[in-house]
């Protein structure tokens, strides 16, 4: 866990006890918390490099290792104040995971820190028409079989978008430190990535609508 830090960011040490911290927000040795650091980016909170290319396993194993040390249940008998701090720190870990674990959320987080955030993403017109038709279909109850088919195809579409995103971020991540010198290639990749993220939102909304329909048909 500390090796990941040393590769990416400086390790955080607790001001109180001097021990190395699992996350910058909360010392799991002495219980001191650092609320002012809560504004840190989600990658920093998790001690991961701010890049797109992460093995999905990384987030899972990170969550588990952190849980074993930081989870508020581990601090319940250490007094109410410490327990409360641990709750806040752990909720910050949960928030950070929500912003990084899912590839589209991760892309969005990374893009919001770049020059691309100013630009409005435009999605292909054919795609929009397709989405409008889907939305229309989802306005009325959907039969179970059809729901399953739709779910499967949405999953497939999202997988494809994820693949494209990885390609765009290969360029973005590689040029992250090059600044303006990276030029046209980087800008195009940023724009393409924004478009993909935008398209993923349509699919996610459709997925939610489908699940919402399923949730209602159950009761």
């Amino acid at each position: 866990m500390s090796s990941e830090y040393s590769k990416t960011t400086d390790a955080f040490r607790c001001d109180e006890c001097g021990e190395e911290m699992a996350v910058p927000l909360f010392c799991d040795h002495c219980g001191t918390n650092y609320p002012e650091r809560r504004a840190m980016g989600p990658f920093t909170v998790l001690g991961l490099a701010a890049r797109f290319d992460h093995d999905p396993q990384t987030f899972e194993s990170r969550e588990l290792t952190l849980a074993a040390r930081l989870h508020p249940d581990k601090w319940q008998s250490e007094g109410e104040r410490t327990h409360k701090r641990a709750q806040l720190a752990w909720s910050a870990v949960n928030e950070a995971l929500a912003k990084t674990q899912d590839p589209f959320a991760r892309a969005e987080t990374l893009l919001s820190d770049t020059e691309a955030c100013e630009e409005k993403a435009t999605v292909p017109q054919m795609f929009l028409i397709e989405q409008l038709e889907l939305q229309e279909e989802l306005e009325t109850p959907v039969a179970t079989e059809r729901r399953k088919t739709l779910n499967r195809s949405i999953r497939k579409e999202l997988k494809e978008l994820e693949r494209q995103l990885a390609g765009h971020f290969e360029i973005i991540d590689a040029t992250a430190l090059a600044g303006t010198a990276a030029g046209e290639g980087r800008l195009m990749a940023l724009k393409a990535a924004s478009t993909v993220v935008h398209m993923s939102r349509y699919w996610r909304n459709a997925q939610r609508a489908l699940r919402g329909a399923a949730a209602q048909s159950r009761n």
Partner: protein, 640 residues
């Protein structure tokens, strides 16, 4: 049989897990590192969640209440869990109930009318908790102050709060509210393979949950959960009741519905028949109802299974849904765990076996597994147990706020891991507006009117500014219990806006306090709560005294002392909102210390008056007046 070696009369302080069930409640604790159900002096492990209240308002709880059901049908309350945190409009199946549901005097929640008196579900649940607690305490010479209490995973915020409040009213410090299926997984996880995906199918007396968990080296992570808080064994009983009464005429039916006693008899017979049909192929029920109706009917298991199929189908749709939500297929599930008495129904087990291609785990008693898991969690939280497990749970429902036009903005999505926080900015719509109303909702639908109203919050104390200028940041925090806390801050001026909470289907903290005090009057032995109440009363009188002293004699002391007294008053006022006895004690001491100079100044003044202008030093001879006066003040205090 446990043999306890300890001094007679000295009770052992333990932290327990309590399964507060729709039909039965159980207490479990860690003994020698392993969870065990606590039995009472008669060897009973189960406290029926039944309350019987007589005409004078005296209540009995548990087995005794169950036996009284026949004599006192309209005063015997079962399945109170179904009404926890619910409004009158939520309760639909009133026809089957032998007692009356009315609107409570507090808020919009439902209350139960017994012999002309209204009882809140929280109060009735507190009675069940108290009984279960007492039984365990007496049998094993224990003292139970702290507990983990379980709730269905699909319980919303109001239902969770109601459960916690019931615990508080029963004089229990509720360490944590945990989800029943998660508790069950924890109980099973003790001797399980280290990694895997577990589906917990929990069909209890009145609620149904299905949770999907990922187990990795002692971390139990809930991936998705769903359920139905109005589906359970009670519904299976109702199916049998319908089978039994299928041949009644309309007049007989009307007579039946008008007779609590007949309904109660029918329910008991139906439950017995249901249980028989889990092991036998058919059962014959002979029933003589006090409305002049004889029922003689044979029900085969086949008939029964056909009739419950719609209910079982409903649960299987939830199973499918939870898999879909987690993006998993049935083949990905490595273990299926059955929880709740209703999973004894062979038809349920068969359906699960065919869906997942393997028989579900039923090794642990489905009635006990939740309490055992709660005891393990209690051990983890108190640091007493052996278990090193960590539970990562989720919120079952999305949380949102009402927007202009009756829409909703979702702030936290369902199946988000808890604790979790979301912040949202608010502003004013007219110039000099000093308050903003926020309506908090829970659920999956798109319009506010279709969602569960959790409460209305009013942000006050916004400094007057032009419309749109104030930036109020509201923080919604769902804690590990799945319970929401809301705080607010005005960012432009830095003032902390205050929040008034009006729970839609629950009680405010003050109302809970009142009920705690009420219950103390009725239960003398509740020493701990008594001590808290005493400390509070003491602190309150000290507050009154200090405020008065500040008003009348504040000018006699320097500004710095006045400021420290005011701070100490504010500090005590703050802790008095809670129930932390130690904190109240500490804050009382601080106030006491800080008011000493005023007491001394007051003494000076009094003495100056009585001895005609001479200082206290002169009167007492030689010693510094302040010192002496504060000694007097101190010795007065120490007389208590």
């Amino acid at each position: 049989m446990q043999i306890q070696l300890k001094v007679k009369g000295q009770s052992e302080d333990v932290v327990v897990g309590i399964d507060l069930g729709t039909t039965n409640s159980l207490v479990a604790r860690i003994i020698e590192g392993k969870p065990a159900i606590v039995t009472d002096r008669h060897g009973r492990s189960i406290t029926p969640s039944v309350i019987s209240i007589d005409e004078e308002g005296h209540a009995v709880v548990g087995d005794e209440a169950k036996t009284r059901a026949m004599m006192n049908p309209s005063g015997t309350i079962t399945s109170v869990k179904r009404f926890m945190g619910r409004g009158l409009g939520d309760i639909t199946d009133v026809a089957h109930l032998p007692y009356k549901i009315v609107r409570a005097d507090l808020g919009e929640q439902a209350a139960i009318l017994v012999h002309g008196k209204k009882y809140l579900p929280q109060e009735l649940s507190a009675m069940v908790l108290t009984e279960a607690k007492k039984r365990a305490e007496r049998a094993q010479n224990l003292r139970i102050r702290r507990a983990v209490i379980t709730v269905p995973a699909y319980f919303d915020d109001s239902q969770r709060q109601a459960t916690r409040d019931a615990g508080r009213i029963a004089g229990i410090d509720v360490l944590r509210i945990i989800n029943e299926p998660t508790a069950a997984a924890l109980a099973y996880g003790l001797d399980k393979a280290k990694r895997g995906t577990v589906l917990v199918y929990d069909l209890g007396g009145g609620t149904f949950d299905v949770s999907l968990l990922k187990l990795t080296d002692g971390v139990f992570k809930v991936i998705a959960t769903t359920g139905n808080t109005r589906l359970g064994g009670d519904d299976f009983d109702n199916v049998v009741s319908s089978l039994l009464t299928s041949e009644l005429t309309n007049e007989q039916r009307a007579a039946l519905e008008g007779s609590p006693q007949a309904l109660s008899l029918l329910k008991t017979a139906a439950e017995a028949a249901k249980i028989t049909l889990s092991s036998e192929d058919e059962t014959t029920v002979s029933l003589s109802l006090p409305i002049g109706v004889q029922i003689q009917k044979t029900i085969t298991r086949g008939d029964y299974e056909v009739s419950i199929k719609p209910l079982v189908d409903k649960t299987m749709r939830a199973v499918e849904f939870v898999l879909e939500e987690a993006d998993l297929d049935p083949e990905d599930v490595t273990e299926v765990v059955c929880v709740g008495g209703s999973t004894r129904t062979p038809a349920v087990r068969q359906r699960l076996a065919s869906e997942f291609g393997r028989p579900p785990h039923t090794k642990l008693d489905p009635d006990q597994v939740v309490a055992l898991g709660a005891a393990i969690q209690a051990g983890i939280l108190s640091g007493d147990g052996e278990s090193d497990a960590v539970l990562l749970d989720v919120t079952p429902l999305s949380l949102g706020i009402e927007t202009y036009g009756g829409g909703v903005t979702k702030l936290i999505w369902r199946n988000s891991p808890v604790p979790i926080r979301a912040t949202e900015g608010f502003t004013t719509q007219v110039d000099d507006q000093t308050a903003v109303a926020i309506h908090v909702l829970q659920g999956e639908r798109e319009m506010a009117k279709d969602l569960r109203s959790l409460g209305r919050f009013t942000l006050r104390g916004i400094p007057p500014m032009s419309a749109g200028m104030p930036r109020v940041l509201v923080e919604f925090f769902i804690d590990a219990n799945g319970i929401l806390k809301v705080t607010a801050k005005e960012m432009t001026s830095g003032t902390k806006a205050s929040i008034d909470v009006k729970p839609t289907f629950g009680l405010t903290d003050e109302q809970v306090e009142d009920m705690i005090l009420d219950s103390i009057e009725n239960a003398e032995e509740d020493v701990e709560a008594h001590m808290l109440a005493d400390k509070k009363a003491e602190a309150e009188s000290m507050l009154r005294y200090s405020r008065k002293a500040m008003k009348e004699h504040g000018n006699a002391v320097p500004e710095a002392i006045r400021a420290s007294v005011l701070a100490a008053i504010a500090g005590l006022e703050k802790v008095l909102e809670g129930t932390d006895k130690e904190a109240i004690e500490v804050a009382s001491d601080v106030l006491n210390e800080n008011t000493a100079p005023i007491a001394s100044a007051m003494m000076d003044e009094v003495l100056r008056v009585t001895v005609h202008g001479r200082t206290i030093g002169e009167v007492l001879g030689g010693q510094g007046p302040r010192t002496k006066a504060s000694e007097i003040a101190l010795s007065e205090d120490s007389q208590e």
